[in-house]
Every structure is written in C-alpha cells, then in structure tokens.
C-alpha cells in the first residue's frame, strides 16, 4: 500500500478495480458456498430420508413375515447410490433385523436412536450422515430403518466449487485489469495530460496553452474545463495588464515629449532673451564708462560713486547673462564621450586657478584618479566650477586645503572635491544646485548662482548624480558619479 502513495492514477485505478472485484467475488463466493453447503446438506438429508422411506416401505412384509433375506435383497438396491455406505433395518424392539454394507464385511456402527418427539433423525458426523426413521405400515410402527452415507458428495462439491471460485476469480481479475486498462483512456490519460499541460504552463508561463477538453460530463471533464477557464482568465488579465502598461508608457512618452518641447521652447526663449538683453547692458556699461572717462573729473564725488555703482551693476548683469547663455549652450550640447585621463584635467584646472588666487597659500591634495569615459570639455567646466568654488569659499581661511579624489561605493566610482572653507548648513544642501539659488550673501562671496546648476546639468547629461555634504565653517564636499558610458 505504501507504494500506492506515489503510484499514478491509472495503476491506482487498476489496483482498486482488482481489489474491489476480488473482494466482492470472494464475499459472493463465500456466501454462495455457505448457502450451497446448507442446501446440499438439506437435500442430502432429504434424499437419504426418501431412500430410507422407500427401503422401509418395501421391507414391511419382510418384517411381518420375519423374512430377513427379502429385506436384504430390498436393501441391495442401495448399490445404485454409491455414497450410501450402509443401512440397517431394526425390528420394533430395535433389534437388528437386516443389514446392508457397501463395502462387504465392514461393520456398521449405528446407534438406532430417534430423539423423543421426533419422527425421524439425521446426524452429521465427521465423515458420514446418518438418517433414521420408523417404518410405518397402516399407521403402525413396523420397525426402523437407518441409512448411512459418506460425505464424498459434499467434499467433491466443495472441491469443484473451490476450483470454480479460483477460475472465476482469475478470469474476473483479468477482466478487471483489462477494464482498467481500457478506462485508462477515459480517466488516467486525460488526467496525466492535464498534469503535463499544467507543468508546461507553470514552467514556461505560457498561458495560451489549453488542455484537451473531454466530451464526457465527468468530474474530470469539469476539472479540465475549469483549468482551461482559469488559463483563459489569466491570459485575459495578462492582456489587460499589458494593454494598461502600454497605454501608460505611451502616455508617459507623450508627456515627456510635450515636456521636452516646452523645455526646448523655454530654453530658446531664455537664450533669445539673454541674447537680446546683452546689447542694452553693453550700452549701459559702455556709455557709463565714457561718462566716467570724459566727465568724471568734473563730477561731484557723490555722482561719481553712483556712476561706478551703475557700472558694477551693469557688469554683474552682463556676467549673469553670459553665465545663463553658457548654461543654455550646454543644455543644447550633446555629451561627446571619450576616454579621458581625469587627473590631467584636474592638474590643468588647478594650474589655471593658481593664476587667479593672488598668491594665496593653498595646499592641493590630489589622490589617484582613474580614466573615465566622458566629454572632456564639459568635464573641464565641471572641475573648473567646483575647484573655483573651493578656492572662493576658502578665501577667509588661514590655511587652505583642497582635496580631490575618488572612492568606490556600491560598485560605482564616486569622485569628490573637499575644502575646509565656509561650508553650509546641511539642511539647505538641496538648494545648492538650483539656478540663482545662493546660500551666501553676495557681500561675503560674489557669484551668480548659475555655476552649480550648470555642473548638475552636465553630470545629468552623463547619466550621473551629484550631491554635497557640508558644515558651517568646517568646509564642504561635493560628490559626483559619471554613469556608465
């Protein structure tokens, strides 16, 4: 039975068929056997009683005329029934009168007793049946007759019966086997097909497959139909999901292109505005310079101071416009990547900055830097801005240290530039990269608020990220990555 646990449905069916039919047959055969034995015993008894009656009736005159030979010749007719082993006729006084023995000379061991209140008796012993009855003539008891039979009939019948049972059992087990072999087609084959389809579906995630439906209306057919319905449901939901996703993607794409168009428009607008603003500013600067040169000596000191202020503002505005134009140009420019020795770029930038640092004592620390795939012109702008900031915000330090290096974080190369200057409050760090956003007053540190915004645009063009950490009066660190080429 343990082996049955893992057996296929078909072999289970086969076993079940065979066990059920075997048990049913055995029970039926046993019942029939018992019934048969009882009825055979009854009929044997009846038969023997009939023989006894015949013998008795035919021995009445022999008893009356005391003619034992006649009685014996009557009894010799019992030879015709080979199962009868012997018979004895007794007188009314239960004295043996005449006897018959199938096997001559074999003494018969019969006690001529008929139980009180019974007209006849029959006794089944191990190997014989004895039937006894009175001999009646004209309503009176003339004597008694006892007949003894062996049980060969019963035993032969039992043997024959056992043979038949074995034969029937064998034939019906064969039939059960054959039937279950046929029913395999009806039950177990569709079931294993269903299992196979289910296996393929769960392996390949292919919900378009279907199990072959059955034409019958069995539970198995219902199961297969339900399975197919389930697959159809999954498939339709998949399709819906796919459709929804595609729609969403399309919408995102649409929005993105709309945004890009608006952005481009805005950039074009700001470029033209900046460009158009340049000429009037140059005029203001140029004419205020002429005014200063030609009439500065005749002006009152106050007027001259105002004029200088006008000129400063015009210059600042010019610078702002230049920066904005620069940023706009970068926005429109594609990053052209190639392999760049970043340490060379850093060294070059530091050299150019040293000219402008008014002979300040600055300690430059540069770590090992790898080669990277990037646009060298844009990268130069990034380094110039960041290093220039570092120089600017360390202006008030006694001892300036500016460090450039890189580290590996989460399988990504992160570059950093660290200074020990004015720093900033960490909670405003997100504002650093906004256009015109400044964390310091222009009186302390000059600037337009365009530089870091430009840097962020360049980093984003490369697919990288930029962020900053800082603390007031303890310095700032700018980190950036450059994405994969």
């Amino acid at each position: 039975m343990i082996r049955l646990k893992n057996a296929s449905i078909s072999s289970r069916l086969t076993w079940m068929n065979m066990i059920v039919s075997g048990v049913a047959l055995l029970l039926a055969c046993t019942a029939f056997l018992i019934y048969d034995r009882v009825s055979v015993r009854e009929s044997m008894t009846r038969n023997l009683a009939a023989q006894a009656e015949i013998i008795g009736t035919n021995s009445v005159s022999a008893l009356d005329f005391d003619d034992a030979r006649s009685a014996e010749s009557t009894m010799s007719a019992l030879k015709g029934s080979p199962q009868i082993t012997g018979a004895v006729i007794y007188t009314k006084e239960k004295k043996a009168f005449a006897a018959y023995s199938r096997d001559h000379g074999v003494a018969l061991d019969i006690v001529p007793e008929i139980p009180e209140g019974q007209t006849e008796t029959h006794v089944f012993e191990n190997d014989r049946l004895i039937v006894g009855r009175p001999i009646l003539f004209q309503g009176k008891t003339a004597g008694f007759v006892f007949i003894q039979s062996d049980l060969s009939e019963l035993n032969d019948r039992l043997k024959r019966y056992a043979g038949i049972v074995v034969a029937i059992l064998a034939v019906s087990l064969l039939a059960a086997y054959a039937i279950s072999f046929i029913s395999k087609r009806a039950i177990s084959q569709p079931a294993s097909e269903l299992a196979e389809v289910a296996r393929i579906v769960s392996r390949d995630k292919n919900y378009s497959l279907r199990a072959t439906p059955l034409r019958s209306k069995t539970e198995l057919a219902e199961l297969i139909d339900a399975f197919n319905d389930m697959l159809a449901e999954i498939q339709s939901r998949d399709a819906e999901l796919e459709q929804g996703r595609a729609e969403l993607e399309k919408r995102v794409e649409m929005r993105t292109s709309e945004l890009a168009a608006v952005n481009k428009e805005l950039e074009a607008f700001s470029y033209s505005v900046s460009h158009d603003l340049r000429a009037p500013i140059r005029h203001i600067d140029g004419f205020s310079m002429l005014l200063n040169q030609k009439y500065g000596s005749k002006m009152e000191p106050n007027a001259l101071q105002y004029l200088n202020r006008i000129r400063d503002s015009a210059k600042h505005m010019g610078q702002l416009i230049d920066d904005l134009l620069g940023m706009a140009r970068i926005n429109r420019q594609e990053a052209v990547r190639r392999r760049v020795e970043i340490s060379d770029l850093v060294a070059e930038t530091i050299r150019s900055l040293q000219h402008d640092s008014d002979g300040r004592q600055i300690e430059w620390r540069t770590g090992e830097l790898p080669q990277v795939e990037c646009d060298p012109n844009l990268m130069r702008i990034v380094l110039t801005n960041l290093l220039n900031n570092a120089v600017k915000y360390t202006r008030n330090c006694e001892k300036t240290v500016i460090e450039t290096g890189c580290l590996v974080q989460d399988h990504e190369t992160v570059f950093f530039i660290r200074d020990n200057g004015a720093g900033f409050e960490q909670e405003y760090a997100h504002k650093l990269f906004g256009v015109f956003q400044r964390l310091h007053r222009p009186e302390d540190f000059e600037g337009t608020g365009v530089g870091l915004a430009t840097v962020q645009r360049i980093i984003q063009k490369h697919g990288g990220r930029i962020w900053a950490e800082g603390k007031v009066n303890e310095g700032a660190t700018f980190f950036f990555t450059l994405g994969a080429a």
């Binding site: 005159s61 009356d64 005391d66 006649s70 009314k92 004209q138």
Partner: protein, 180 residues
C-alpha cells in the same frame, strides 16, 4: 405384548423342545403358531372388493372343519386391520364361509377340496390351505415348507378372479406366484 415377540419367544422355545422333548406335538404347535400369524398377516396385505363400504363389519378369519390352531389363532388376531376389527371364527360347512374374508382349509378337508373350491369360485374369500397341490388346483395361498422355514405359494389368477388384491409386498415373499 407384541405378536412377533411372542412368535420369536415361541420359536426359541420350540427349538429348545425339538432338541429335548418329543418332536411331533411341539412341532405341530409351533407350525400352527406361525401359520396363525401368517393368516393374520395375509389379511393385512390383501384388499377385498367393497371393503371400503362395509368398514364397520369385522374382518373374519375362518377355519373350516377341524381346527388345527387351537388358541393360537385367537392370540394372533388381537389387533385391528385398517380400522376393522378382526375375529377368528370356526365353521363346519364351506357355504357358511361366504362372509369370511380369509378361509383356512385344513388337511382334514382334502377329500372335499374340489367341491369347496368350486363352491367359492369368484367369491371374495381368500382361501388358504396346507393341502398339497392346493394352489395348483385353484386355491389362493398354499403353505409350503422350505427346509425348516414355512413359506407360501400364491395363485394370483384365482385371487384376481375373486376380486381380491394381494399386495406386491406379499407377492415378493411368495416362493411361487402362479399367474394362470
């Protein structure tokens, strides 16, 4: 007391007497004891015409002339046969025997036998005798000796012409059955 028991006791007694005492009288006695019982038994295995109608009338076993049985016949007829009372009767003339069911004709009547049989022809009286050639001459049942044992011969033609039915049980015990 059962008649067979009596019979058997008598038989044993007779055998003892045969060995010890004077033979003839003892033998006579035992022979007619048996014959008396046989007469009674013949009546049991025979059927008379119209026996159903005069069921109430007694069944008479008659002895013609000189009675050789003595009390033996009276002892033998104690029990009823098929509900009919059985009586033993002695008659002197065979003409009186027309009411008898069974008529025993003793040896002493041998000379008149032809007359008797002629007179009872076709009358339902079962004639029994131990006269030699009785059955051949038209008597119905004749006692014979087979060695020591008493047997009987049956003339079936005679009994049938008189309308008496003899049971096959009886016939199978007969030493001879004459059918014509």
């Amino acid at each position: 007391v059962n008649r067979f028991t009596v019979l058997r006791i008598f038989t044993i007694g007779v055998l003892m007497q045969m060995l010890t005492g004077p033979g003839l009288s003892a033998r006579q006695a035992s022979e007619y004891q048996v014959k008396a019982a046989y007469l009674y038994n013949f009546a049991k295995f025979a059927e008379w015409p119209g026996s159903l109608t005069n069921r109430s009338a007694p069944l008479a076993i008659c002895v013609l002339g000189k009675d050789p049985f003595g009390p033996a016949l009276d002892i033998a007829v104690t029990e009823d046969i098929r509900g009919r009372k059985v009586v033993a009767r002695r008659i002197s003339k065979f003409q009186e025997g027309q009411d008898c069911s069974v008529l025993f004709i003793p040896m002493s009547e041998e000379r008149r036998l032809g007359e008797i049989l002629k007179g009872l022809e076709r009358i339902p009286v079962l004639t029994v005798s131990d006269i030699p050639e009785f059955s051949r001459r038209g008597g119905m049942i004749q006692f014979v000796f087979e060695g020591n044992k008493i047997r009987f011969e049956v003339n079936l033609a005679s009994s049938q012409s008189a309308g008496i039915m003899l049971s096959s049980e009886l016939l199978k015990l007969a030493s001879t059955v004459r059918r014509s």
